[in-house]
């Protein structure tokens, strides 16, 4: 029983982190108009910024600095994508640029920190929670509470606030948005910055309760892309993304319990391939400039 509860907690935690990745990836993709695999760099920047300081305030300060770096990277990336779009680059070429930038980020991290995994578990000295033999570590509690709180905030903002309405308009029609007097380029820039910061938050939460390594970049990109495609079929916006990411987390848990080896990527990639082929009409079409 206790084991199953622990599995459930792990599932809920991974679902939250995948959902954050999916939301960040979604924001970057709608602002840059292509599947932005480079979002995975945001996942690396924040945790690796905070790896060096021992613990305490310095580590927290470095996490905040990492988030700022994430935002800055989002700004630069959006400008590069905008420049390429304005010069008539095709969607496939933008996607290749995105993959190449992801490769650069992954290898820079490998060069500086090595390819072995790192953790930020000492960043927060939170006590563990013990409820009738069920042990929840402070790190896991942090990831769960922060992760789901941010997701609820994102859903609320998307549905009720002006920012959410503007983002919905950005997805539907840029022209319409511009005709209403909104500066589309500014909205796109801030959307990309926010997207990178959200992916960065998921990275730091992952590193607090687990370990990250540079090779995770591809997995993060695939989680974002698969959630983006499947989420759009369920419901436009964060609700669809969260449902899709939760389904991926469930699939990962199920495969890890039933099969020997790590099949999580295989499941995601097979789902992606099947979805692309079978349901391509339902896929949100990224506008070409």
């Amino acid at each position: 029983m206790i084991t199953y509860v622990q599995y459930f907690l792990n599932f809920v935690e991974i679902a939250a982190l995948y959902s954050l990745v999916a939301c960040g990836f979604y924001l970057i993709t709608i602002s840059t108009r292509h599947f932005a695999f480079a979002a995975a760099i945001g996942f690396m920047i924040v945790p690796y910024s905070a790896v060096l300081p021992e613990a305490g305030f310095a580590k927290l300060a470095m996490i905040l600095l990492g988030l700022a770096l994430c935002g800055a990277f989002g700004f630069i990336y959006q400008k590069i994508a905008g420049h390429l779009s304005s010069k008539g680059a095709r969607e496939g070429q933008l996607l290749i640029v995105s993959l190449a930038i992801m490769g650069i980020g992954e290898n820079v991290v490998t060069l500086v920190f090595g390819s072995s995994s790192q953790t930020l578990s000492s960043a927060l000295g939170l006590p563990s929670l013990i409820m009738s033999h069920i042990h929840v570590s402070g790190q896991q509690l942090t990831a769960l509470v922060f992760g789901w709180s941010i997701l609820i905030l994102i859903v609320f903002q998307w549905r009720c606030s002006l920012i959410g309405k503007i983002l919905q308009a950005l997805v539907e029609s840029r022209l319409n948005l511009a005709l209403r007097g909104v500066s589309v380029s500014r909205v796109e820039t801030w959307t990309a910055i926010t997207g990178f910061i959200i992916v960065g938050v998921s990275g730091v939460l992952w590193a607090i309760d687990g370990r990250i390594k540079p090779a995770m970049c591809t997995e993060v990109g695939v989680v974002g892309a698969v959630s983006f495609i499947i989420g759009a079929m369920i419901k436009t916006g964060p609700i669809g993304l969260i449902v899709a990411a939760t389904a991926l987390a469930f699939g990962r848990l199920l495969l890890s319990l039933t099969l020997e080896g790590d099949w999580s990527m295989t499941a995601m990639l097979l789902v992606l391939g099947c979805t692309l082929v079978l349901k391509r009409r339902a896929i949100f079409k990224v506008e070409s400039a």
């Binding site: 095709r90 496939g92 892309a225 080896g261 692309l276 391509r280």
Partner: protein, 300 residues
């Protein structure tokens, strides 16, 4: 010294062949993807499994691997060629990574440790190192592929004109009664056949195969060669792109005192080159300015 030289020639020829086939479906067919690396992986693994796990002789294994590659190519081509642009690239990427994950988890394919001691098919003069025998597999393939592409896609070639027509305006090609699907499947089978040979060449040259042999890094390398050389242009320019890349890689390898830096530095350099080309000179060295004609798709 001769061994080192031949090994680099093999590497160069493998890159040329993968780039030519990628550009055939991407530059000429209008579907940029990493299908060539996927089929190289399928060909390489099929050959390795056939020779080591099942114990069939090298030449019979070559034939078996090519048949397997063509059969899978027919199915995947039929499935993936319905997709366009982003979707095709994503699907081929998913196919490549998915296949490698399967290879990573299935024992018969060697798992993460891979398959070792893969024999080389003997043909032509025997070289000092059996791994160098791969040149007799790759060299004829490059010659045949280059001649075929030049003949089929030359300025006055009918086949090339039809493929370009489909690329530029698929709807009007359909309207004029062109067998669009069959043309696309034909070039996809061409890609799978020659990519399968490259895959076998790679595993024979290394006498070893593992999921890392055909990873994302190889896909990026092939795309870099394609974009350096110029996509949709003369296929012989792929030799120039591949030569530049091999020289850069060997130059970076000379950082012998810091071996742990070589791999990441090579990958960073290649990715930076790819991004720079796509930002500043998308035509590469000799790619044509592809003008898409008036399209019924756009008029809709």
């Amino acid at each position: 010294m001769i061994g080192y030289f031949v090994f680099n020639i093999i590497l160069l020829l493998q890159l040329v062949l993968l780039a030519q086939t990628t550009d055939l479906v991407g530059g000429y067919g209008g579907r940029v993807g990493v299908a060539s690396v996927l089929f190289a992986a399928i060909g390489g693994y099929a050959y390795a499994t056939s020779t080591i796990t099942i114990g069939i002789g090298p030449w019979k294994s070559v034939a078996l691997a090519l048949m397997a590659t063509l059969a899978i190519g027919l199915f995947i081509g039929w499935l993936f060629l319905q997709l366009r642009e982003n979707d095709f690239l994503l699907a081929t990427l998913a196919g490549q990574l998915g296949f490698l994950e399967i290879a990573n988890n299935i024992r018969i394919l060697g798992g993460p440790l891979g398959i070792r001691g893969i024999p080389a098919p003997t043909l032509g003069p025997v070289l000092s190192d059996s791994a160098l025998q791969a040149i007799w597999l790759v060299l004829p393939a490059v010659i045949i592929c280059s001649i075929a592409l030049v003949k089929l896609f030359g300025p006055y070639a009918r086949f090339g004109s039809l493929i370009r027509w489909v690329r530029d305006d698929e709807l009007s090609a359909h309207a004029f009664g062109l067998p669009v699907e069959r043309l696309q499947i034909a070039i996809f089978l061409f890609l799978s056949f020659f990519s399968g040979i490259v895959g076998m060449g790679i595993v024979v040259a290394q006498s070893y195969v593992s999921p890392n042999t055909f990873d994302l890094w190889l896909s990026i390398t092939v795309l870099t060669v394609v974009y350096i050389s110029g996509t949709g242009g003369n296929p012989l320019w792929m030799f120039a792109g591949a030569t530049i890349l091999v020289l850069i890689n060997e130059g970076l390898r000379s950082l012998g005192s810091f071996p742990e830096l070589v791999g990441p530095l090579q990958q960073i350099t290649l990715n930076v080159i790819l991004v720079a080309i796509l930002i500043f000179r998308r035509r590469g060295i000799a790619g044509p300015e592809i003008e898409f004609g008036p399209s019924a798709n756009r008029l809709e």
